[in-house]
């Protein structure tokens, strides 16, 4: 628990009443992202990496690759594995230990965005059918938590995978010091997360807005404007029309963001 529970109760009331009157604490429009900064190749030792700053939120995503056996039902495909760690450096409430339900939800939503968009051409990651394939392991490492880990993590994963280089494989042994071909990627999925406060929806919530929210909706959008993953969380309810409206906004906003930060 935060130590300053009472302070937060007061803050939350202030945030909620401001939002219900149509404004945000930091003056942003309801459908604006905070300033975004993406630094790729941040970790030289990783096959791919990206440090994302979304306002004061900082997430570092690293991509490692190794080889292993394929699954029986996809003998000619590489595997994608996604993990997220909310390490305690990032917030006073994060505690050491195995991922809790929040970290697991984060990892799985990031994973679905990458997987379902068919971003990575997994068939090109087959070394010997039925025997040896590449594993692509995406690790989301949260460094500073000021809200909206979903969008920061998905953006980081997409950016990191777009700059990932496959290491050399020699007699089935990986030579990590020699990176070669780029990872075969086709799409750049990016998400928009909206928190719901009363009947208002706010894109890219900061920590205070997240604490004040009733619930949230995350929509991951592909370059072609199609939805590839969705996740509702928290204790709120949406009408059908709400979902459609937020989808339209997400397509527009992720499109702008993609143009700005993903170099193909």
């Amino acid at each position: 628990m935060e130590h300053d529970d009472i302070i937060w109760e007061v803050k939350k009331e202030a945030i909620r009443s401001l939002v219900l009157s149509g404004k945000r604490m930091d003056g942003r429009d309801f459908y604006d992202y905070r300033p975004v900064e993406v630094k790729t190749n941040y970790v030289k030792r990783a096959e791919g990496s990206a440090l994302v700053k979304l306002g004061k939120t900082q997430v570092l995503v690293g991509v490692k690759m190794d080889v292993g056996e394929p699954y029986q039902d996809t003998p000619n495909q590489g595997n994608l594995i996604t993990n997220a760690e909310m390490v305690p450096i990032a917030a006073p409430i994060f505690t050491p230990g195995p991922p809790d339900e929040n970290a697991i939800e984060l990892a799985r939503v990031v994973d679905r965005g990458i997987r379902e968009s068919q971003m990575i051409d997994l068939e090109k990651l087959c070394v010997r059918e039925g025997e040896l394939v590449w594993n692509v392991i995406v690790d989301v490492h949260v460094l500073d938590y000021d809200g909206n880990l979903f969008d920061a993590a998905i953006l980081g994963a997409t950016a990191a995978l777009h700059t990932t280089r496959i290491p050399k494989l020699e007699d089935d042994v990986i030579i990590y010091s020699e990176k070669k071909d780029p990872l075969p990627v086709r799409w750049a999925p990016i998400s928009s997360t909206f928190v719901r406060i009363g009947d208002k929806d706010l894109l890219d919530p900061d920590l205070g807005e997240e604490k004040s929210m009733d619930g949230r909706l995350t929509l991951t959008i592909r370059d072609d404007g199609n939805l590839c993953a969705a996740q509702k969380g928290g204790v709120c309810a949406y009408k059908k029309e709400d979902v459609e409206k937020l989808f339209d906004i997400a397509v527009k906003k992720t499109g702008e963001l993609r143009k700005k930060v993903i170099k193909k």
Partner: protein, 241 residues
């Protein structure tokens, strides 16, 4: 979604099990099937068999987790080891932890939590046999078990999935459709207002497909809702006799 190797629709537009695109699998619901639990529900939905049990409102253990203003809800979706082809290792998987979280949040919207401050309501769902759509079956059974336990709710919660197979929006995917289809879209609603309290999606939807999927899933849930009400009526009838 995996690459399709199977024809999911025949020349007449019928699905592998003969259903039309917007048709549900057979569903049976029975409330009050366990002795120890305060409320319970057994539900079969196509090849799925789930058993939901509710305990509470009861004391919160450990106590420091108690909320002075409202009841705490615990939701545990659990796959029995023999419920799937390759035995599931006992204990929570990452998948079941995520399902439990979003299902709990859906129920929290419906339960009058403020009426039971400092208590805990435990909702346990055992998936005894699994064949695509277990999270919807589990959540649907859970809300019947909550009603059976006498927990006051704004509304039942009713879940149903839409999906996409061979480019078409379909209701309530079965296993092969889930494996080889192009999208899965489970939602849960509170039927009186049709408001969505659970929504997940993976696959590929255009704007138009999203709209059709929303309509399809909501319509499916409304049919399931009738079966929930019928099961509860039968339960009260038996109890009243």
């Amino acid at each position: 979604m995996k690459n399709p190797g199977i024809k999911l629709l025949d020349e007449n537009g019928k699905r592998l099990d003969g259903r039309g695109l917007k048709e549900l699998r057979p569903i049976t619901i029975k409330a009050g099937v366990l002795d120890r639990a305060d409320g319970s529900c057994y539900l079969e939905w196509g090849g799925n068999k789930v058993l939901a049990g509710v305990y509470g409102p009861r004391e919160v253990i450990p106590r420091h987790l108690a909320d002075p203003l409202k009841a705490r809800v615990v939701y545990r979706y659990n796959l029995a080891p023999f419920s799937v082809d390759e035995r599931a290792r006992p204990g929570p998987s990452r998948r079941s932890i995520e399902i439990s979280k979003v299902s709990r949040e859906a129920l929290e919207k419906a339960i009058f939590l403020e009426e039971f401050p400092k208590t805990q309501i435990d909702v346990y769902v055992e998936v005894l046999e699994a064949e695509a759509g277990t999270r919807c079956a589990a959540l649907t059974a859970a809300s019947v078990a909550l009603a059976d336990a006498g927990i006051p709710m704004r509304d039942l919660v009713t879940a149903c999935a839409a999906g996409k197979i061979e480019g078409k929006i379909a209701l309530d995917l079965m296993k092969e459709e889930d494996n080889y289809g192009e999208a899965d879209f489970p939602i849960a609603i509170m039927p009186r207002t049709k408001e969505i309290v659970l929504m997940q999606m993976d696959g590929n939807f255009t704007r138009e497909e999203l709209t059709e999927a929303l309509e399809t899933a909501i319509n499916g849930a409304m049919q399931v809702y009738e079966l929930q009400k019928k099961a509860l009526k039968e339960r009260y009838k038996i109890e009243g006799e």
